[in-house]
Structures are given as structure tokens and as C-alpha cells.
Symmetry: C2
Subunit: 107 residues, 2 copies
Amino acid sequence: MEIAEWRVKIDALDRQLVELLNQRCRCAMEIGMLKRGSDLPIYEPIREKQVLAQVAEANAGPLSDRALQHIFERIIDEMRAIQKTKALGDQPARRDGYSPVFPDDRD
Amino acid sequence: MEIAEWRVKIDALDRQLVELLNQRCRCAMEIGMLKRGSDLPIYEPIREKQVLAQVAEANAGPLSDRALQHIFERIIDEMRAIQKTKALGDQPARRDGYSPVFPDDRD
């Protein structure tokens, strides 16, 4: 296979990554709302360590655990920032009218 | 749903993210080997900008384009580091004997 063909594969993987990251973000936003309702802290270092440990556990390579840790630290940082914004109640309205997440799961 | 249930969802998403990131890494390693064989540079800023533009294009939210850009910058950094290691030929042997990637796709 040539470089261009590997890049087509990478582009397809990136679209899937974007979708999964957005799903993860919806979950984090729900947790942020639950935390706001119960005065739990947004920053929970024990949970963040647990996430990183599970990521290493799931890793079959070729990425090193350390590379994955760097990537997930950035993911966690970005999601925590969104939880904080939600907790402050100043999340700007989205142009696509996004509001609840996983509505079928809520009860 | 309670926080613990959202976290179960996040953990499942993280396992999928780990798998996709490793698939992406295998593609990047193949590209690194092709570049090494043809003296192409590892760092290609135009391609990296293209990747970020496509990520924004694929983004339906709730993550902002900016948050996704931060995450993908980290992903690209880590994969570029691996391409460089491969290009220098000093990639340590993996304990699981990993060598070629997507063997069925190669011809």
C-alpha cells in the first residue's frame, strides 16, 4: 500500500475517533450536571488515575502506555474544562440546538 | 442514570478509543517506513493541517472544534514521535513480537 492509501485509512479512523470523543464528552457533561446537583468536585484525581490505569490495561500496542497516557491526559483535560463550564452554567448555546444527551437513557 | 453508570459508558468508550488509536498508530508506522524508504520528511505540516481540518469537518459536537484540535494535536505529536523512532531504526523490539501491520492489506 502507498502513503495515500494509508492516509485514507487514517482519515476514516479519525472520523470514528471524533464520534467516540463526542460520545465520551456527552457522558462527561451528564456527570458534570449530576456533580453540580450534588456539590461533588469536578476534579477527581482518583477517578482520573483509574481512567489512565484502565487505558494501560486495555492497551495491546503498538502505542506505548506512555503515549496513550499523554493522549488521554489531553482528553481528560478537555472534558474537565467542559464539565467546569457546564457547572458554572455558562456553556454557550450550540448553533445546532444541542441539549440533552442520550435521551433514551434518562429516566 | 447515576455517575457510576455514566462512568461504565466512559470506560467502554475508552477501550474503543485505545483500539482505534492503536490502529491509527499502525497506519502511521507503515507511512513512517514508506517515508524512510523514499527519503520523505516525517514532519509534513500541510498534511497535519489537513488532518485537523477534516476533524473539524467531521465534528457534530458537543466538543468544540478547538477542544478536538487540542486532542488531535496530541495524537499527531505522539504518532510523529513513533514515526521518527521507526525512521531512525531504533524502535525497541516489542515483547509480543509485533512486526508488520495489516499484513492482508500489503501487496
